[in-house]
């Protein structure tokens, strides 16, 4: 059944007029403003070194971390796209003649322009170095993404000088993300969680950190479609649907981790009684009478409501209206 506007039977999809005006304004203003900016003149960069990596390795050749670059895809000369098929170290770090050159007595060595301890380039500028090669399908939604707007740098997550970049490996990815997303450390260490703390799942199993047009930077076009990749048994469609299930799994589940089995937001029966208050047993507030010994509440213990209503994601049984079959 397609949702229709009751008046004229046309689908109700509205495009705020102010949005269209805003887009026109952006197009006109941006063009004029940036033309003026580009006239302001470019910064003068230092020169490149005379011999490229051979210059850099005179000082950095003993640094094991620097040398691991040669174990990585960035140092494959036969692939003409890679830094070492071109300006070598300076492809990414910027022209290094000042950094590698003679330093006057008592003066501090100028830093390398990018990706160094005291490099002057901004995060945005450093990101452009990476995007100069990596502006591809995996990164096409970077502009305007949550990470881009929060000035997250590529190297805040990626370790380029490493045989295995920790953020690219399932087992070692989560600690990198948790450096900023500290609040998720609690969730993944909760009593019930996805197997992230065991290194069996990575954050990128569900999220796309390079940007996505989907909610919460998910890999699927909605929460549910993301969950269905691994939990297709809940997809249906079912004959008898449980409507919040079809809309959003997170109405009942806390995917990062929870104190409750099945990563539920709350324990039944209270979980269910947020939405169900009907004559007889669904409405009754269950108490601790009978606990811990004696006749325990039959609607409380073990799975509570789910002891009977076990088809909570929906049922395809002809008699499955109460989700018990």
């Amino acid at each position: 059944m397609r949702l229709r506007n009751s008046k004229n039977n046309k689908p109700r999809v509205r495009f705020p007029g102010v949005f269209l005006v805003a887009m026109l304004g952006l197009a006109l203003t941006g063009s004029a403003v940036n033309a003026a900016d580009e006239e302001a003149g470019a910064e003068k960069l230092p020169d490149y070194t005379r011999t490229g990596a051979d210059t850099c390795l005179k000082c950095h050749g003993d640094d094991a971390k620097v040398m691991t670059i040669f174990d990585t895809p960035h140092a494959v000369k036969a692939d003409g796209r890679t830094p070492f098929a071109g300006a070598q170290c300076e492809s990414c770090h910027g022209p290094g003649s000042e950094h590698a050159g003679r330093v006057g007595f008592g003066k501090e060595r100028p830093p390398i322009p990018a990706f160094g301890a005291k490099s002057p380039w901004t995060t945005e500028r450093e990101n452009k170095v990476c995007l100069g090669c990596h502006q591809d399908q995996e990164h096409r939604f970077w502009d305007g993404s949550g990470h881009q707007r929060q000035d997250v740098g590529c190297v805040d997550c990626h370790t380029v000088h490493a045989r295995h970049d920790p953020v690219m490996e399932t087992e070692t990815q989560a600690p990198v993300c948790l450096d900023c997303h500290s609040e998720q450390r609690i969730a993944i260490n909760s009593a019930y969680s996805h197997p992230i703390r065991y290194g069996e799942m990575a954050c990128t199993s569900c999220h796309e950190p390079h940007g996505s047009l989907n909610p919460a930077m998910l890999t699927g076009t909605s929460v549910n479609r993301t969950c269905y990749k691994c939990h297709a048994e809940t997809r249906g469609p079912f004959l008898w649907e449980h409507e919040p299930v079809t809309e959003d799994c997170t109405l009942c589940h806390r995917p990062h981790g929870s104190n409750n089995p099945a990563l539920l937001t709350r324990r039944p029966p209270l979980l269910c009684q947020q939405c169900h208050s009907r004559l007889s047993h669904p409405s009754i507030g269950r108490t601790a009478e009978g606990l811990p010994s004696g006749e325990a509440s039959q609607f409380l213990l073990s799975g509570s409501c789910l002891n009977c209503h076990s088809q909570v994601h929906g049922s395809n049984h002809p008699s499955g209206t109460p989700l018990s079959r």
Partner: protein, 718 residues
């Protein structure tokens, strides 16, 4: 309600218009050209590298990596510890891993990585090809999952689709009146093993075309707990899990310098090896219901075609978007409405559901760097679930006991529309502020609220007033309204009920985080987050919820060879729910009660890494994590009631490892892992199969345990 919605929309439009007018006029108010911006990027006017020999560069060539093999020992059975990790059984296990890389001079490569190869949580990854041209990949991993430990059942064939009672079984009205119960119990393992195999092909020729295909097969086998009931009597069963999901993603893309376009097709096929679970009723049958049958998840398919892309004008405008059309289908043959032979089986209106849900998604984002200081973003999102499943009336047989009314199915549909606009402005070099407004409309079918609308306003500030200090602040306010009509709640439902995801809601959220470099080698981070939901119009249901979350972490480079980190984090989640005991259909307001559910989480940890130790010890690490979660449930009624016991899970994990060089290409790796879990959960503690009179449980209690794992591995490097 519709009038209020329109007024709010008009106010939002005016606010968005004012924000945008301000933004568009800011450049005219006089801004300084940022003299520090650079337009000359490396490579544009690049160096002459023809004489750059790279003589000192040790390019990888040939085979390198390591193979590891050894033994480990688990001190005791501990299912929680083995959960996902594969170390649940006491005894010896083989420890194998591998990390191999072959590179040829012509950019061909082969990479093999294997972890925990001797355990049920093994993973293997193989990738090869020619870098920049094509790659083939194969990934395999297993995830074990244990749902219940110490479970016991009376059913024969537990874990299969047909579960029967012992021949000498005597049925009873309650579990205490089943004389054969104790003697019939036997252990049953309840859990699953998930095996995922993924094959991938990625071709980048001819440039700039790119072709990708991924085929993934997920096999999940085992059993999970499912309740099978007859009116108010239920038996918990080990239901079979025999799932196979095949996901195929195929795409073709074009990657130009300033734009990309890709078309993708996604297919998902779910196949369940079992269509139904049949079991014998262990209780005294009512109305001849001596067996029951549950419909297990039906086979289904999902298709989606998507077109997506982005286009970047130099710097000032980026447009990205995606459009996707999908369909979910399910046409598995219906089971019989009942297996109770003493009832007249109702006629079905159709043989299968012929279920079909069409999905449509359209997202558009426009971002613009209007000036070096001012950025803008606007988004439109559309998400529709259009359920075209036929509607029919089905005569219900309630839990195989009695025949009742005709009920029509309700194929739920929804349509979600979101408009979002935001501005980022760098006031000074060390301070950037952002403001964002979003309006969401959602229409739903068959529910008491046909429309909900939500307005959200967010402001952010990012500041680094010192080179060593970063501060982030986010404040957000959201209000949701709806056209909820209580008359549509349904028969015998409390008219004061407001389902929380449809109810009017006010949400306020704030977050502050800071990172401070105490010294060059030490960084401290703190965060504090607070969120409050208020459902002011909800007499029954969720009234309010709050979340408080804060933490501190420290990382330090103590010396050239020693790194350390430590963290502490705490979260508190509180919920208030009100309800009413309804016994009389003429008094649906009932006797009110109130409940609180409070969850407290705490996580503490520290770790130290040594990159060089005395003698031939090459590296070592120690890592400790403590996590506890407490849950308190309080229910207040007109009469006094006792408190619920506290829910508690406490987990300690200590990991230590060290590596010693035996020869130039041979290392000895030693690992020790200690884990302890304490758990109090009154829902399960002390629960025997006959503890609850009308529920035959599995008696899966949760024991506290400590486990020690010690492993020794030789790693041969080359």
């Amino acid at each position: 309600m519709a009038m209020n919605t329109n007024n709010r929309l008009r106010r939002l439009h005016r606010a968005m218009g004012a924000l945008l007018c301000l933004a568009l006029s800011l450049p005219a108010l006089g801004r300084e050209a940022d003299a520090s911006k650079a337009t000359d990027e490396p490579g544009k006017a690049g160096p002459d590298t023809s004489q750059w020999k790279c003589a000192s560069c040790p390019f990888a060539s040939g085979l390198s990596g390591y193979l590891g093999f050894g033994l480990g020992n688990v001190s005791t059975d501990f299912s929680e510890f083995g959960n996902f990790g594969g170390l649940e059984d006491q005894g010896l296990y083989g420890a194998f891993d591998a990390d191999l890389l072959y590179r040829a001079d012509d950019a061909r490569y082969l990479e093999v990585q294997g972890d925990r190869l001797g355990l049920d949580s093994r993973s293997l990854s193989v990738e090869g090809g020619r870098q920049g041209s094509y790659s083939l990949s194969l990934d395999y991993d297993e995830i074990p999952y244990i749902q219940a430990e110490g479970a016991r059942t009376v059913f024969l064939g537990a874990g299969t689709a047909d579960q029967t009672l012992p021949e000498d079984w005597v049925r009873g009205d309650t579990t205490q009146r089943m004389p054969q119960l104790s003697s019939s119990l036997h252990d049953v393992g309840i859990g699953t093993r998930r095996k995922t195999l993924t094959l991938g092909l990625d071709v980048r020729r001819p440039d700039p075309w790119r072709y990708r295909v991924n085929v993934q097969r997920i096999r999940k086998e085992g059993s999970l707990i499912q309740g099978g009931s007859f009116i108010f009597r239920s038996a918990l069963l080990a239901a079979p899990v025999d799932y196979e999901t095949t996901n195929v993603a195929a795409s073709v893309g074009y990657e130009a310098k300033t734009w990309e376009l890709a078309a993708e097709y996604d297919l998902s096929v779910f196949d369940n090896g079992d269509t139904a679970l049949r079991w014998e009723n262990p209780f005294t049958p009512i109305n001849g219901a001596d067996q029951g049958q549950i419909a297990l998840s039906p086979d289904s398919q999902s298709h989606q075609v998507m077109l997506s892309g982005s286009w970047r004008m130099p710097r000032w405008l980026t447009v990205s978007g995606q459009v996707a059309f999908g369909r979910m289908e399910q046409d598995e043959a219906f089971l019989e409405p009942t297996v109770n032979s003493s009832l007249t089986v109702p006629t079905l209106p159709r043989f299968n559901l012929d279920g079909q849900v069409n999905t449509r998604v359209a997202n558009l984002r426009v971002t613009s760097d209007l000036t070096d200081r001012l950025g803008a973003k606007a988004e439109l999102k559309y998400d529709e679930r259009d359920n075209d499943t036929p509607i029919d009336a089905y005569r219900q047989v309630v839990t195989d006991v009695f025949v009742t009314d005709l009920v029509s199915n309700r194929p739920y549909s929804y349509e979600r529309r979101i408009a979002n606009a935001g501005l980022d402005y760098r006031l000074v070099s060390w301070l950037k502020v952002s403001a964002e407004a979003e309006h969401e409309e959602m229409d739903r079918t068959f529910l008491e609220a046909a429309n909900t609308n939500t307005d959200t306003y967010t402001v952010r500030a990012r500041s680094n007033p010192l080179a060593s200090l970063n501060l982030n602040l986010k404040l957000s306010h959201s209000e949701r309204g709806s056209d909820l009509n209580p008359a549509l709640l349904g028969e015998d439902v409390n008219p004061g009920l407001r389902r929380f995801y449809l109810a009017d809601r006010r949400r306020d959220m704030g977050r502050l985080d800071a990172d401070y470099a105490l010294r060059d080698n030490m960084v401290v981070g703190i965060f504090f987050e607070k969120a409050d939901d208020n459902y002011g119009d909800s007499d029954v249901g969720l009234n309010g919820a709050s979340d408080r979350n804060y933490g501190l972490d420290v990382s330090a480079i103590l010396s050239e060879k020693v790194n350390a980190h430590a963290f502490v984090a705490k979260e508190t989640i509180n919920s208030d729910i009100t309800g009413a005991d309804i016994f009389d259909p003429n008094d649906l307001l009932g006797d009110p009660w109130r409940a609180e559910e409070n969850d407290n989480f705490r996580t503490v940890g520290f770790g130290v890494e040594f990159n060089q130790l005395p003698g031939k010890w090459t590296r070592a690490a120690i890592d400790f994590t403590y996590a506890d979660a407490k849950g308190d449930i309080l229910v207040e009624k007109s009469e006094e009631t006792p408190d619920f016991p506290r829910l508690l899970t406490r987990r300690y994990t200590l990991q230590a490892s060290a590596a010693r060089e035996i020869k130039e290409d041979l290392d000895l790796n030693v690992r020790y892992l200690m884990a302890r879990r304490d758990r109090n959960d009154f829902f399960y503690d002390g629960l025997q199969p006959d503890s609850v009179p009308n529920v035959l449980t599995l008696g899966n209690g949760l024991d506290d345990e400590t486990v020690h794992v010690f492993s020794v591995m030789l790693r041969y490097s080359f």
